[in-house]
């Protein structure tokens, strides 16, 4: 089946600064795709190009199998939700929701408008706010209305530009759960951009990691988290951050130059081969006794604790259950689950 949205070789520069350097991306008919990238990685440029608010320098955008580069934003039939809740402050919630349906050229029956407004309000649980002016809403309520305004249009694609980033942490968490459930109920295709990896992992059917103006990796949240393509993707996804260690194969072990034996290496790896090893903190187990590592610090993280180790001069983080016995200064024996470690070889065999 053809994807709903197909992007090939998309490039855009602002003067000498290249924001996008050739992005290839597909979005399926019912897919929730999250584009994850650091500040300045080109996320917003990508969304604006899809929406038709920005003309790319190169590349093609197809919607529903048809070239869309030349289509106006309105012709693309895409809804765009911004991070700042762009509502009309003096209009009521009902008027704000109905507004996109009253645009000239839409010519919808009033009964249809009412029905769509009522349905969106029900989905977003804002029925009791319908007669209230937008300026009297809280931030979370405003963002619900802004999303409602996208839903009433029944667009072919939703674009979400960090829609939760201006909300406080508690509200963000609540609305995230709600929107993830809602998107699955509606089965609507969504492209959601964010710099928050927790948001990306918990919302997405598929995560596309954007860096250097390109898609560095794309896959299910689990694939991107467990098998990052390189150290860079590994560091962008997950908290506490992945441990990245420069190692060489010695006597059947991946070892650091200072002599820490991190994990056994496969038998076919020639001695002296160099690699980067990516180890998630939750895959470092700690036992007591003199194992060559020293505890530098222990940080509380709620349900877990982060233990920062000095392992023969390399800093390694271990994520353990809260309330463990480790204290700063202790000597411990770290053990890495080799099956879960990522090996990024500098040179192929």
């Amino acid at each position: 089946m053809k994807p709903l949205l197909a992007i090939r070789g998309l490039a855009k520069s602002y003067g000498a600064v290249a924001a996008l350097r050739g992005v290839d991306l597909d979005v399926g008919e019912r897919e929730f795709l999250v584009v994850l990238g650091a500040t300045g990685s080109g996320k917003t440029t990508l969304l604006r190009s899809i929406a038709g608010l920005l003309a790319p320098d190169a590349g093609t955008i197809e919607l529903g199998g048809r070239a869309a580069n030349a289509l106006s934003p309105a012709e693309r039939d895409i809804a765009y939700v911004f991070q700042n809740f762009s509502l009309y402050p003096s209009m009521t919630v009902r008027e704000n929701l109905a507004f996109p349906l009253r645009a000239p050229g839409r010519r919808l029956e009033p009964a249809v408008v009412d029905e769509r407004v009522a349905r969106a309000a029900g989905l977003l649980r804002i029925e009791r706010l319908l007669e209230r002016p937008a300026r009297r809403l809280s931030g979370g309520e405003m963002q619900r209305v802004a999303i409602g305004r996208a839903i009433v249009r029944e667009p072919r694609l939703f674009l979400m530009d960090e829609p939760l980033s201006n909300l406080d942490a508690k509200l963000r968490e609540e609305l995230r759960v709600e929107l993830a459930g809602l998107a699955r109920e509606l089965g609507a295709p969504v492209v959601w951009v964010t710099h928050d990896h927790a948001e990306a992992l918990s919302l997405a059917d598929r995560v596309a990691v954007l860096g250097d103006g390109r898609i560095l990796q794309s896959g299910t949240p689990r694939e991107v988290y467990e098998r990052p393509a390189d150290a860079r993707v590994g560091r962008l996804v997950g908290f506490p951050p992945i441990n990245v260690l420069a190692v060489a194969a010695r006597d059947g072990w991946w070892s650091t130059d200072s002599g820490a034996r991190i994990a056994p290496c496969a038998p076919d790896v020639p001695g002296g081969a160099r690699a980067e090893l990516g180890v998630r903190p939750e895959h470092v187990a700690l036992t007591g006794g003199d194992g060559g590592a020293r505890v530098k610090a222990v940080e509380a993280l709620g349900p877990a604790a982060l233990v920062v180790l000095d392992w023969c001069g390399s800093e390694v983080r271990a994520l353990v259950e809260a309330g463990g016995p480790q204290r700063a200064g202790d000597s411990v024996a770290p053990r890495v689950d080799a099956a879960l470690a990522c090996v990024w070889r500098n040179q192929p065999l």
Partner: protein, 349 residues
């Protein structure tokens, strides 16, 4: 005697706003204390009163045994870091970091030694001769952190210093900040609305709401034994699950169903508080509902189950079978349950 002490400190503004409603707080020399709360809780006002940027309306503030009520900020012998300022583009990294020491007329040899030390502690030794524009965003933030913390006054006061960074940059900066404070031993009062940042940084967390201190204690205790419903909800992500019911003769009932026995709380309305990691799928469990969302979170998953009256979050192992859209029964670990009186909001057992 403690280094910094606040007794019955209040702040009223001429317009009648009662921003701080009587705060008692003692801070020991070298301690890292984080004031945590939502916007408008009075945390920044409290910090500004300690700094002397706002006069307190009632109560007393002592710093190092001295009543500072009548003293200007500059006479209080404390330094503050209200934010990490932008770097001077025409100065090298070394000159940027040395700048506050030059302003304080620190001798050249001493200055160079301190710049070297702080550069090593935040990991920018190799960048000292570069210009800011040649650095990545993360490195620029490290430089501005080094500059802010190169002086070692009697106390650092910090107001959301990481507020402008994206999630990836923040995670790393928290560790630098923590290590630098430990190493310098400078008494630090730090304001944030981010509970995770607070738990990671603090020796003691002071949770505030509506101008009052809700709880004050080490991160692990505030997390495991919240003193009030507010703290239970605010600390933790997701926050503590709160299930409202009634207690009669030691039995806790919700909508006619018996949820727990041997509850040591007085008869009457009662709220059960459960951290997501203490709730589990259990076929014999008494809390039942449909799973709204089962979201991958990296080291674990979080699932949300809509039970009558409450949406309950539970922490699930990354390897456990998916719950999504299933009707599930939940059990919990009674040893970790917290019990609250809904009228006072305080924990009773």
């Amino acid at each position: 005697m403690s280094f910094l002490s606040l007794e019955r400190v209040e702040k009223r503004y001429p317009d009648g706003t009662h921003a701080v409603r009587g705060i008692d707080l003692s801070i020991e020399r070298g301690e890292f204390v984080v004031l945590l709360g939502p916007s408008g809780c009075g945390k920044t006002t409290t910090l500004r009163m300690i700094a002397g940027l706002e006069r307190h309306s009632a109560g007393t503030i002592h710093i190092d045994g001295r009543d500072v009520s009548g003293l200007a900020p500059s006479q209080r012998d404390i330094g503050f870091v209200f934010q990490f300022y932008a770097l001077y583009p025409h100065l090298s990294v070394r000159e940027n970091v040395a700048f506050p020491l030059m302003c304080a007329a620190v001798a050249k040899a001493d200055r160079e030694r301190r710049v070297r030390e702080v550069a090593a502690s935040v990991g920018i030794e190799a960048l000292l001769e570069r210009k800011p524009r040649e650095l990545s965003g993360g490195d620029q933030q490290r430089v501005s952190l080094a500059r802010a913390m190169v002086r070692e006054p009697a106390a650092w006061l910090m107001d959301e210093p990481l507020g402008t960074l994206d999630a990836g940059q923040r995670a790393g900066m928290v560790e630098f900040l923590r290590a630098r404070q430990r190493e310098a031993g400078v008494t630090t009062v730090y304001v944030t609305h981010d509970q995770e940042e607070a738990l990671r940084l603090a020796d003691r967390v002071v949770v505030m709401d509506q101008g009052r201190i809700e709880q004050c204690g080490p991160p692990a205790r505030v997390y495991a034994e919240p003193a009030t419903l507010f703290v239970a909800r605010f600390v933790g992500s997701p926050g503590m699950n709160l299930v409202a019911g009634d207690c009669a003769g030691g039995r806790f009932m919700v909508a006619g169903a018996r949820i727990a026995d041997d509850v040591r709380a007085p008869d009457g309305p009662l709220v059960l508080g459960l951290r997501p990691e203490h709730v589990r799928v259990d076929p014999r469990g008494v809390l039942r509902g449909r799973c709204r969302l089962d979201a991958f979170h990296g080291a674990c998953r979080y699932a949300w189950v809509d039970t009558p009256g409450t949406r309950i979050a539970l922490r699930v192992s990354a390897a456990a079978p998916a719950l999504a859209a299933a009707e599930v029964a939940l059990g919990f670990d009674a040893a970790h349950a917290c019990w609250f009186d809904p009228a006072s909001g305080r924990r009773v057992a």
